[in-house]
């Protein structure tokens, strides 16, 4: 009889898909709906407003473009870390995980810098509907980036344990799925808040 701890990360299941991977996809489906609700709310609210800032009027497009580049690069390094799991190369896994974590942190750093500029100009949640939407969407997305960084840090710590590849190697891919999703959310936020 298969034990569940075993079948969670192997394909020894009714469908051949490891349960942990299936579970992550299901969780991401739920996350998609969470951001759908928030993005939908923003679009509806904007449609009801006479005034909405023009692109580049209040937000810095170059800073956000740079942040987009940083986050896309982090998705690449994340994918390379997953590829390194298939090559069973622990050093490369660690290197690319670390790069992903650093790029994710850089993203949050740029975001924090943007926030500080807005605060200096007196823009806070509650000052205007645009800022309510801006801070809520980017803030909740930032929390997701932070969660991804923490997950990757945990896996980075796991890589130093013996038997990492055999017992926890699949976690890199799971964390990767989540990371790419968080990246994808930003791809929607960037045009919605900055470009249109």
């Amino acid at each position: 009889m298969t034990t569940d701890a075993h079948s969670v990360h192997t394909g020894d299941t009714s469908t051949g898909i490891p349960s942990a991977k299936l579970g992550m996809w299901l969780f991401l489906a739920s996350e998609v709906m969470f951001f759908t609700g928030l993005l939908g709310a923003t679009i509806v609210l904007r449609a009801g407003m006479a005034h909405w800032p023009r692109p580049g009027e209040d937000l810095s497009i170059p800073l956000a473009a740079m942040n987009t580049f940083i986050l896309l690069s982090s998705s690449m390094t994340m994918a390379m870390s997953v590829a390194a799991v298939h090559q069973a190369d622990s050093k490369k896994i660690r290197l690319f995980l670390l790069l992903t974590i650093l790029l994710g942190t850089a993203f949050l750093g740029v975001k924090g810098y943007e926030y500080s500029i807005k605060f200096a100009h007196g823009h806070f949640p509650g000052t205007a509907l645009f800022w309510d939407c801006y801070f809520t969407l980017t803030g909740l997305h930032g929390l997701h980036v932070l969660a991804g960084i923490i997950a990757n840090l945990w896996i980075l710590w796991l890589t130093f344990r013996p038997n990492f590849l055999r017992s926890d190697g699949h976690r890199v891919e799971l964390s990767g799925l989540y990371w790419h999703f968080v990246d994808l959310v930003w791809i929607f936020l960037f045009p919605l808040l900055y470009l249109i």
């Binding site: 009889m1 298969t2 299901l26 739920s30 969470f34 709310a41 509806v44």
Partner: protein, 570 residues
């Protein structure tokens, strides 16, 4: 296996059966509490303004001198609805039965993610404590209805901290539901025993699967709405708060928000939630009817696919709660049509159940009585739903007692009779002992009688123009003549509540003194009845292999009139 100790075994357990029973006990306790809140409402409606002296000690601010103030009444119906829905019916039908039954019925040793399952349970008391903490803060618990429409719910000036706690608690509960749903879907897809194809799954599992998918996709939208509401309340944002509001003569700074946006987001979750609260009950009934009719179920595929169809269409009907809100009328027509479409798969189910009963060898056990009660009451609930779905009719009925009657026929007449059917049917499996049948039948008949005594007159009140959520209808001359009817309803409500003590008595007495049940006391066919009662940790001594569908009763040429799913029939 070594003994894990009391705490790991019964409190922080990862065993799906223990978690299911934890959900069962917790949700029953919350339902009892929610029921008591309804009794206070019925007191006010039956005898408006009459003192209830002992309540002065319990709620000195809400019932000074034992006489209820209007704000307290608002809090009562809000907390009654919230507790019954979020902490009663959903955790009972989905949390308790989903956890207990899914692995047993599909032949798995446990859920796909046992630790996530434990987390899902333990978030539940945290969420409940957060919401209930509202009773102890200034201004009392949330009082803007279970639907919490802004601007009323979104302003600190109109609703105290109890409303903030309410929204925060619902977000926490959302996490619990989502984790549970991930587990249910992954387990049903991935952990079926060999031979257990989708078309051999018991219909209760089809129902749980659909329910879990609804939970997974709808709950996060509610979480998003709750977070926006919390920000409106705590950070002064204006998501749901339009410009130009004045409270106590002071103009507010909010601008640009849309109160209707809340209703869209809220009902995008809360209408699917209605199906979350009825589909599992439909599943239990579909398991119970063939057993006590000793016949295969009529239209297995029709019933299972109609559950999926109800789930899918259920995402496209939410704005039928909003016909009266000034929403674009063209949109209203769309939602009217989609809502009426739900009646089609629902009708398929009802006729298939009747087809199952047709010429069966009926055994009128307690679970069977509850299942039949479910069907008959649910038909009334469902048909009145079609009335309300029709925009022109709804223009008249909206926010009257007709709606209250409709939702109680679905949620009490449907979900709760389904839950009673489920509890009385699986009690022997859960605890190894049978519930007393005579007490059980008495409980059923009294519940059935008093339930109709409370809820049926609501349709009459609604047609007569009595609004819902009304503190004192006697201030309207046109409604005064409803006083005797309201008193009759209140008396029925008190009797209904008292009848539940009978159930509690039977439940606890049977836990310790009930007749011992063997592995298969109902002569049923599905996999859970192959295990000892109660099943051990890990459920099955060896992985079962499934050879036939779930409802093989009265198979021609067999000695017994039932064929277990693991049996081969030559």
């Amino acid at each position: 296996m070594s003994d894990p100790g009391f705490i790991r075994k019964y409190i922080f357990s990862t065993d799906h059966k223990v978690i299911g029973i934890q959900f069962l006990f917790s949700s029953l306790i919350f339902m009892f509490f929610g029921g008591l809140l309804a009794m206070l409402m019925r007191w006010q409606l039956g005898w408006p303004g009459s003192p209830l002296p002992f309540m002065e000690k319990i709620a000195p601010a809400g019932m000074p001198g034992g006489i209820m103030v209007p704000e307290y009444y608002n809090m009562l119906f809000t907390m009654h609805g919230s507790i019954m829905i979020f902490f009663g019916v959903i955790p009972l039908l989905v949390g308790a039965f989903g956890n207990y039954l899914i692995p047993l019925k599909i032949g798995a040793p446990d859920m796909a993610f046992p630790r996530l399952n434990m987390l899902s349970y333990w978030l539940f008391p945290i969420a409940a404590a957060t919401v209930l903490a509202g009773f102890f803060v200034e201004g009392g618990a949330a009082a803007s209805g279970w639907t919490a429409y802004p601007p009323l719910s979104g302003l600190k000036e109109t609703m105290g901290p109890g409303q903030t706690l309410w929204a925060a608690g619902v977000v926490i509960l959302g996490f619990s539901s989502i984790f549970g749903a991930v587990n249910y879907v992954a387990t049903i897809i991935n952990h079926r025993a060999p031979g257990m194809s989708f078309h051999r799954l018991p219909i209760s599992i089809w129902a749980m699967f659909t329910t879990a998918v609804l939970t997974l996709l709808a709950t996060p939208v509610l979480a998003a709405a709750m977070i926006l509401l919390l920000l409106d309340r705590c950070l002064g944002t204006s998501f749901f708060l339009p410009a130009g509001m004045i409270v106590d003569g002071t103009p507010l700074a909010h601008a640009g928000g849309q109160a209707l946006l809340w209703q869209h987001l809220f009902w995008f979750y809360s209408h699917p939630a209605v199906y979350i609260m009825i589909l599992p009950a439909m599943g239990f009934v579909s398991d119970i009817l063939p057993n006590f009719s000793r016949k295969p179920i009529f239209g297995y595929k029709a019933i299972s696919y109609s559950a999926v169809t109800i789930g899918a269409v259920g995402f496209l009907v939410w704005a039928h709660h909003m016909f009266q809100t000034g929403m674009n009328p063209t949109l209203g027509t769309t939602f009217m049509v989609s809502t009426m479409a739900v009646a089609v798969p629902t009708g398929v189910k009802v006729f298939s159940w009747l087809g199952t009963l047709w010429r069966g060898s009926i055994r009128l056990t307690t679970p069977m009585l509850h299942a039949l009660g479910f069907i008959s009451m649910f038909i009334i609930g469902g048909l009145t739903g079609v009335f309300l779905a029709s925009t022109p009719v709804d223009m008249y009925m909206h926010d009257t007692y007709f709606v209250v009657g409709h939702l109680h026929y679905v949620l009490f007449g449907g979900s709760l009779f389904g839950a009673f059917a489920g509890i009385t049917y699986w009690f022997p499996k859960m605890f190894g002992r049978k519930m007393n049948d005579r007490w059980g039948k008495t409980h059923f008949w009294l519940t059935f009688l008093f339930f109709n005594g409370v809820m049926f007159p609501m349709f009459i009140l609604g047609l007569g123009g009595m609004p819902r959520r009304i503190y004192d209808y006697t201030q309207y001359a046109g409604l005064v003549h409803f006083a005797p009817l309201n008193r009759m309803m209140s008396v029925s409500a008190f009797c209904l509540m008292a009848t539940q003590l009978l159930f509690a008595f039977n439940f606890f007495r049977s836990l310790f003194k009930g007749e011992k049940a063997g592995p298969n006391p109902w002569e049923a066919t599905t996999l859970e009845w192959e295990t000892p009662s109660p099943p051990p940790h890990g459920n099955f001594a060896k992985t079962p292999v499934v050879h036939c569908g779930p409802y093989e009763y009265s198979v021609p040429g067999m000695k017994r009139d039932w064929q277990m799913q693991t049996e081969k029939h030559a």
